[in-house]
Amino acid sequence: MVSGATNRIMLSGYRVYMALFFLFLAAPLFSAALFAFNDSLFPSLPWKGFTLDWFFNDTEPKLGMFNDRRLLRGLYYSFVIASMVSLLSIFVGTCNAFLFVRCEFRAKNFFYILMVLPLIIPGVILGISILVMASNMANGVENSTGIELEFLRPGLLLVVLGQFSFIATICSLVIIARLKKFDIAMEEAAFNLGASRTRVLRTITLPFLRPALIAAGIVAFLVSFENFNTTLFLVGSEAPLTITMYDRMVKVGSTPVLNAVSFVLILGSALLAVLSIAVQRDPDK
């Protein structure tokens, strides 16, 4: 091996590299968050003093985010969409996990690849393909019966379906990984002790899966919350927060209220990310 001295130099070099990397990771997040507290109309230097106006002030031009009705509406829709996507994805992900871990059927490998596929289709294409299909269906129904199916037009439902189409894959993979670790003897033991099939599922299997279900739910929620590419094509009047922010950025230009929103979102994401890792930690190990 190499001598101790060169080893130590290389290791410190390595450490410097790591520090630079994390600086690179943190820089834009800090700049996005920090200017939320700058008492200025523009999110840029110089620093004009600390303020919380961009969160709580209720008058223009320094309208705080918690008084900005459009941003709040966006936040609300983001919550609604993310919750629905999470629930749907957990449900389908759990079914998929049992399907692919417990069942044997023909062409299983092929179906497994189909299941993974949505993850590597560009989000833009998922968005337009679902838009095209929904519009085709709505047009077809309208032309033949004259009934306008409003829910097939861009709006809440399409956004939820579009995000769900690939988030379901993420949830499936998380839950499959956990179910694979399950010792089937545990179910047999419960069965042997006299439990019925539903009781085994309720008292043994699902409790074992719970950390994965929670983690999958959190991940789904976060991915849905931050999604832009797929949502962009499917959004109607109920725009979620990312779309609202983007509109604001392009049309009005950046104001520190966007920094305030960024700060809240970064904080929320960080908390949820920590939570999702905490629930997955095995107490045994």
């Binding site: 010792d183 003897a185 047999e188 033991a189 042997n192 002790l193 006299g194 074992f208 107490p283």
Partner: protein, 371 residues
């Protein structure tokens, strides 16, 4: 009904997966309150047999009776046969109390009944204070006992144990052997113990069935299996043995003389089918029956050449000495260049055999079992 003296009976049980016969026409009766082991190499079908008894697999033909009643139509969660799994399958998300209470809850027992039964069974496995512990806080031996307690709380007719000692380290395994035997005595329930470890089966069991390729080779007490094996497989699988295969050169008075491929000529007796000249035989001699006959070592033994007719007497050189206290063993390379194992008692004195010495091995022909 005179059949109820048996806790578990299997009649001509057969199970095949695709074209493989995992269990092939197995029949046996286990009397109430005994410790019964099924011993066989991995892949012999013993796990399949047990899973059929527990109800996780259904046989292609044959019948399983518990206390004289067929249970083929009883689903596994209604059979009064409880099972200790190979890796125990204790529920990690519940504590000890919840684990033991699980089966009682499924049966709809009341809270107070559960409480007394759990306390009672914990008392009986000598772990009265662990009810509130989590599973991962228990030691290996404690987990073992909790797994048994979880089953015994339900008063099963038969307790199945699927190699539960396999995951333990050697010392603990030795201790648990004795403990299991004691527990079986205490509960007075029929234990059916599955293992590939012959020493576990011999030490604990009242009766042992030796299984090979889906069939029972022999059922008997440990002594019978060891001293009176009915097949070459049993002789080779149960206990240690020197093994030869050879061709019969002469047969008279129940004495079989045969010659191995290397040219060693030995005398033995028929244990299986009768042999005639020029048949091929498999012969087994247990190391503890082979004695050293050397003037240098001891003068209590008869000297070479003074043997009875039919005694085996072979000279060779000690290749190596495997010291293991009272169970020490010699590897002797005989003149035909084969290695023979012989047990010796070493006293630590000057008379102990040493590697490189020339010795003569002797044993009576009755101890050479030919199949």
């Amino acid at each position: 009904m005179n059949t109820s003296e048996f806790d578990l009976q299997c009649e001509n049980l057969t199970k095949h997966f695709a074209s493989v016969r995992a269990v092939d026409g197995v029949s046996f009766d286990i009397p109430a309150g005994t410790f019964f082991s099924i011993l066989g190499p991995s892949g012999c079908g013993k796990t399949t047999l047990m899973r059929m008894i527990a109800g996780f697999e259904s046989p292609n033909s044959g019948d399983i009776k518990i206390k004289g009643k067929s249970v083929l139509d009883t689903p596994p969660n209604k059979r009064n046969v409880k099972m200790v799994f190979q890796h125990l399958a204790l529920f990690p998300m519940m504590n000890v109390y919840e684990n033991i209470a699980y089966g009682l809850r499924c049966n709809g027992a009341s809270k107070s009944v559960i409480k007394t039964k759990v306390a009672d069974v914990l008392e009986r496995v000598a772990l009265p204070d662990v009810a509130k512990r989590e599973i991962h806080q228990l030691s290996g031996g404690q987990k073992q006992r909790i797994a048994i307690a979880r089953c015994m709380a339900l008063d099963p007719d038969v307790l199945l144990l699927d190699e539960p000692l396999g995951a333990l380290d050697l010392k603990l395994r030795e201790a648990m052997k004795i403990e299991l035997k004691l527990l079986q005595h205490q509960f007075n329930t029929t234990f059916v113990y599955i293992t590939h470890d012959q020493s576990e089966a011999l030490v604990m069991s009242d009766h042992v069935a030796v299984m090979n390729e889906g069939k029972f080779e022999q059922i008997g007490t440990p002594q019978e299996l060891y001293h009176e094996p009915v097949s070459a497989f049993v002789a080779g699988f149960v206990g240690d043995a020197n093994r030869w295969s050879g061709t019969v050169s002469a047969v008279h008075d129940g004495r079989v003389q045969f010659t191995t491929a290397q040219g060693l000529t030995l005398n033995g007796i028929n244990k299986g089918d009768a042999h005639a000249a020029s048949d091929t035989v498999s012969a087994f001699v247990r190391p503890e029956f082979i004695k050293l006959s050397d003037a240098n070592l001891t003068n209590t033994n008869t000297t070479a050449g003074n043997n009875n007719e039919g005694h085996n007497s072979i000279s060779g050189r000690i290749d190596s000495l495997l010291f293991n206290g009272a169970n020490s063993r010699l590897l002797v390379r005989v003149d035909s260049n084969e290695l023979i194992e012989a047990d010796v008692t070493l006293t630590g004195g000057l008379n102990d055999p040493k590697a490189g010495e020339n010795v003569t091995l002797v044993w009576p022909h009755e101890q050479t079992m030919c199949f």
